[in-house]
């Protein structure tokens, strides 16, 4: 299969060819016009010369008087310094001038001036010839006059002219090329900018493409938007399915949990109680995972239509911390929030997404802390950014390969003993992209881990 020709070349090639043809036409037209103008000037002078010689011709009895006009000869040479030759014949016999200059043979009744080109002494000449019959003493006598001039001036002018025309032609070509390039650029700009807006979008931004588009691109935009909406539909179905699946799992699990708790309360045997404890713990984990699956679906769903608001970060953080305190209480863990700057930190974000991110950060901290430990939530303002830091005193992530840890279902090697879904960091990362922030998880200096979410302030 042939390589498809780029749009740029499809446009440029005809434009360049047009420019070349136009430049060449310009060059040849200028040359031709100049040539004609110079030729016409020279012919006018030659004509003047032969006619004034003719006018000054007098017959006296048997004699003829020829008067060469001094001023016209001066003029003939003046513009050009071209060489001048002439010849006068009487009754077909050479009378004066240059005998080797050949007279153009005209029929006798020719009265107009005849122009011709000849080669004389190896040089090209332009020649004007005129003839007239005189009636002298009843005898008719024929006077033939020719004046010729070299065309060195014409050649010199044409040389100059060609150079100028060449310069003009080339400049015109250069200009046309520039215009062609600019035109191609401006032609391709809407396409590029469309491509730019589409490619700059977040991974889950499936809003239809809007904004001013040239009418010629509308079909492309329309079909793109159609495609997007179909894709969105498919995605939404998938997410609805996940959400429903999570819900369907959570409900029976809650039932299992409450039934198990009931059995635990009634059970006397320590063996059974231990088993029931394990069941409850696992069910808890499963509920949490199902919750995370829900969260994940929620994030994907919200990314399509973000509801950005100016949020008081301290309020949001406190709210999430309060929500998670009961879960922390189960392990006798205390969440301490430190609010700086009088809480005067605002971010532009979707509240639900921000809460989900914070919840998952705190959830990890609680999950990977030991009982009776403290968790700190701090906020640090750094120029245009705010860093929300969650510090725990748990196992930390020393020596753990963190590369790709934020991918779905990826878990660290430090938590093999704990059940988990591997969705937490994936959710946080996706929210980060949507909110225009960044997230890192690193080992704390002392013990425990340090999760940092950085967001732009407003």
């Amino acid at each position: 299969m042939r390589k498809p020709i780029s749009l740029r070349w499809r446009l440029l090639v005809p434009l360049i060819i047009t420019a070349i043809i136009t430049s060449a036409l310009l060059y040849f037209t200028m040359r031709q016009v100049t040539k004609q103008a110079v030729q016409a000037t020279q012919e006018a002078l030659l004509e003047k010369a032969v006619t004034s010689i003719l006018e000054q011709t007098r017959f006296t009895e048997n004699n003829v008087e020829i008067d060469l006009p001094y001023n016209i000869f001066t003029m003939l040479g003046a513009i050009s310094e071209d060489k001048v030759y002439y010849r006068v014949d009487l009754d077909g016999l050479f009378l004066t001038g240059y005998e080797d200059l050949r007279l153009k043979n005209l029929t006798v009744d020719n009265e107009y001036i005849f122009f011709s080109s000849t080669i004389f002494r190896g040089v090209k000449l332009r020649q004007a010839t005129v003839q007239q019959l005189f009636l002298v003493n009843g005898k008719s006598r024929l006077i033939q006059i020719t004046v010729a001039q070299t065309q060195l001036f014409q050649e010199a002018i044409l040389r100059d002219m060609s150079r100028n025309a060449g310069v003009i032609g080339i400049s015109f070509f250069g200009f046309a090329l520039l215009v062609a390039l600019l035109a191609t650029r401006s032609f391709l700009r809407p396409i590029n900018s469309l491509a730019g807006t589409v490619s700059r979008r977040g991974a889950h931004d499936l809003r239809p493409v809007k904004g001013p588009t040239p009418p010629e691109l509308m079909p492309l935009v329309l079909s793109l938007n159609g495609f997007i909406s179909r894709l969105t539909g498919t995605l939404r179905q998938t997410e609805t399915f996940i959400a429903e699946a999570a819900h369907h799992i959570r409900t029976p699990l809650s039932l299992v949990k409450s039934e198990s708790q009931l059995a635990l309360r009634k059970s006397k045997s320590s063996e059974n109680r231990k088993h029931l404890h394990n069941i409850i713990e696992s069910v808890d984990m499963s509920i949490r995972s199902a919750g995370q699956l829900l969260d994940h679906a929620l994030v994907l769903y919200r990314s399509e239509k973000i509801d950005e608001k100016r949020l008081d970060l301290a309020v949001v953080v406190q709210h999430v911390a309060d929500n998670l305190q009961p879960a922390a209480d189960l392990k006798d863990i205390i969440i301490k929030t430190e609010i700086i700057n009088n809480g005067d930190i605002f971010v532009m974000a979707d509240r639900v997404l921000l809460e989900v991110a914070l919840r998952n950060m705190l959830d990890n901290a609680i999950k990977y802390s030991n009982p009776d430990q403290l968790i700190f939530v701090k906020m640090v303002l750094d120029q245009n950014f705010v860093r929300i830091i969650v510090l725990d005193n748990g196992r930390g992530i020393k020596g753990v390969k963190t590369k790709g840890i934020h991918k779905r279902f990826k878990r660290g090697s430090n938590v093999d003993d704990v059940i988990g879904s591997g969705l937490g960091l994936a959710i946080i990362s996706e929210i980060c992209i949507i909110l225009g922030g960044s997230f890192i998880l690193k080992n704390n200096k002392g013990v425990g881990a340090c999760a940092i979410l950085q967001l732009p302030v407003c």
Partner: protein, 344 residues
């Protein structure tokens, strides 16, 4: 080996020497005998006048010698146009004949190193180059003008001649246009300038004007008092040849003073056009012009006195000059001249 070289050299030299079928006035060689090459110059200017420039050229080019042949302007034209001469440079005061040589294709296009030294009005194409000026003046004998005012214009001159026939009869001199090319050029150009010329010719005819071949004879005659006035004399000759206490007075007429260009061409037939060009380049160089002006007394192209002459009329170096060389035109002019001068 050496003999062969000399023989070859001899043959070469013999070949180089132009066959002098035309009439030579004087032939002179300047510079060392053992010079490498010789510049062959054919000129209408006396070698005596030209000597300083030739010497200056040889000082600059010690390896060259100069063979300087003088002839009349008409002979010069014949030598180049109809004879197989091989001169490297042709110098002539007959602008019209030089112009015709160039127009008819007997001259070479020359590229001069000092090209910009020759203004546009002093050149035709790159073939004819003017290198010196020559005002055409009136020469009067002071002793005859003791009671008369010097004429300022041709009209004055006319009145003067008409009113004092006793002084001027048989004592006016001018060029014979039939035998002098320069004389023919001056009178034809005069005839273009004004009708006064023909009246002047008539009056001169009535006063039985003597016709001369050359300027120097006229200068002599005025200086000696033989002539009361000479019309159309080469000004530089008068200035150069007359002693300061001379009887002859140079007058540049104020209605107009024709200025002639001394020109040089490099003939197409030259065997060493480079040498001719070299000499020409020297003539137009600052040094050459200075020597011409100060020592040879041939006014340089930018001569100050000439540049401030009232009503100077340089004879234009253009194709118009060809017109009076036409044989019909010439015979018509000379017929008219004869009619004016010899009324009998």
């Amino acid at each position: 080996m050496r003999n062969i070289t000399i023989t070859c050299l001899l043959i070469y030299v013999i070949n180089l020497l132009p066959v002098a079928a035309f009439e030579i006035e004087l032939e002179e060689t300047f510079g060392d005998n053992d010079s490498v090459s010789t510049v062959q110059i054919l000129s209408s200017t006396d070698s005596e006048r030209f000597r300083p420039v030739i010497n200056g050229f040889i000082n600059r080019n010690p390896e060259l010698s100069v063979r300087y042949v003088t002839a009349s302007t008409a002979e010069i034209y014949t030598a180049i146009a109809t004879e197989s001469t091989t001169f490297d440079l042709v110098i002539s005061s007959a602008m019209d004949l030089q112009m015709k040589l160039a127009n008819d294709g007997f001259t070479k296009t020359v590229t001069l190193a000092g090209n910009e030294n020759v203004p546009n009005w002093a050149r035709w194409r790159s073939e004819v180059f003017g290198f010196a000026l020559e005002p055409i003046v009136l020469l009067v004998s002071k002793q005859d003008f003791l009671d008369l005012k010097f004429p300022k214009t041709r009209r004055d001159l006319l009145a003067l001649m008409r009113n004092n026939p006793d002084i001027f009869i048989n004592r006016i001199g001018t060029y014979d246009p039939k035998i002098s090319g320069a004389g023919y050029l001056f009178s034809t150009q005069d005839s273009r300038q004004s009708d006064t010329f023909w009246r002047l010719a008539e009056v001169m005819g009535r006063l039985n004007t003597k016709l001369y071949c050359c300027t120097s004879k006229m200068i002599e005659a005025v200086d000696s008092g033989e002539l009361a006035l000479a019309y159309n004399v080469l000004g530089s000759y008068a200035n150069a040849e007359l002693p300061s206490d001379s009887n002859a007075q140079v007058i540049a007429l104020e209605d107009y003073t024709q200025i002639l260009l001394r020109t040089a061409v490099v003939p197409l037939a030259s065997k060493r056009p480079d040498l001719g060009t070299r000499f020409l380049d020297y003539l137009i160089s600052v040094e050459g012009q200075d020597i011409l002006d100060k020592q040879a007394k041939l006014p340089a192209l930018n001569n100050f006195e000439i540049s401030k002459l009232a009503n100077r009329k340089p004879i234009r170096l253009d194709s118009g000059l060809l017109v009076f060389l036409d044989k019909l035109k010439r015979s018509a002019f000379l017929r008219e001249w004869d009619a004016a001068l010899f009324q009998n």
